[in-house]
Assembly symmetry: C2
Homo-oligomer: 141 residues x 2
DNA sequence: TTGCATCCGGTACCCGGGTACAGGCTTACC
DNA sequence: GGTAAGCCTGTACCCGGGTACCGGATGCAA
């Protein structure tokens, strides 16, 4: 808020606080290639440009969309590095397919669970109910 | 196949093969308390009763229902140990609630992803589309 | 100039469910 | 009695996403 004279660089603790992230996480993301290595003070302390905070919120948004850090790294790295930029739209569509598959799996599990409940199985090992669904829990896996 | 004279005990490799499980997994389950320590041959080799194979298929069935190994251990351990036996039906109902919650989360993610797709965002970092949903991806988390 | 907060690098640990490897011992069969 | 397959214990590693701790160096303000 006060001055930004000479260069508004932030130290790691400031970036972490503004982005709502642990300081260790910052270095972790650096190792994973999600954020580029920032400039350093003469003593070796990291000096981040303020955009890093924005970048971190973008990373967190992408994570919430179900992308892994590796995928986020790819998505962020487009433009730089010369590799063909991965299209976010295409990636999002592929991710929707993944999510749908996962939901389908969970629905099958849910189905099997309701069968267990309605059949009245009382115990895994000694189920006394007739037509116990336990041994035949296939889930088409 | 041949004789079962004196005791139809199985060695770890036989149990593993019949249950479709790795031998290491057997010992892992033993450490985790899912299967009790079997008898030993004079030389120290494990000698399993044949029921162990059935138990392993039960464990795998429970896993497919979404129970963690710790939960399976509890469910199996009922009857023995004197603790009040956890009711499988109740556990299954609770698990259904968990599954439903997870499905709801994934549906929200799916929703957000379709917004990204339909808004036409091309890039995480430099999205040129109007009313880009990326910064406001809340998912009510 | 001194004191304290912060940062540094490196390493180890956490969760869950296993898998793999090393170096030795047993068992089974011929 | 030889030989190979199988088993033993103990330990380390894998995935993903971080978190924690250590001893030492820096930064900043009074």
């Amino acid at each position: 808020m006060s001055g930004d004279a000479g260069g508004p660089y932030l130290r790691s603790g400031q970036v972490a606080e503004r982005a709502g992230v642990n300081v260790q996480t910052l270095r972790y993301y650096e190792r994973r290639g999600l954020i580029t290595e920032p400039a350093r003070s003469p003593g070796g302390h990291r000096a981040y440009p303020p955009e890093t905070v924005t970048l971190l919120t973008v990373i967190k948004a992408a994570q919430r969309l179900g992308f892994t850090l590796e995928e986020v790294a790819e998505l962020i790295g487009d433009g730089r590095g010369g590799r063909p930029a991965p299209d976010l739209r295409a990636r999002a569509q592929a991710k929707i397919a993944e999510v749908d598959a996962r939901i389908a799996e969970l629905s099958a599990v849910r189905q099997a669970l309701t069968q267990v409940v309605s059949a009245g199985c009382g115990s895994l090992t000694r189920c006394a109910c007739p037509d116990c669904p336990l041994p035949s829990t296939d889930l088409a896996e």
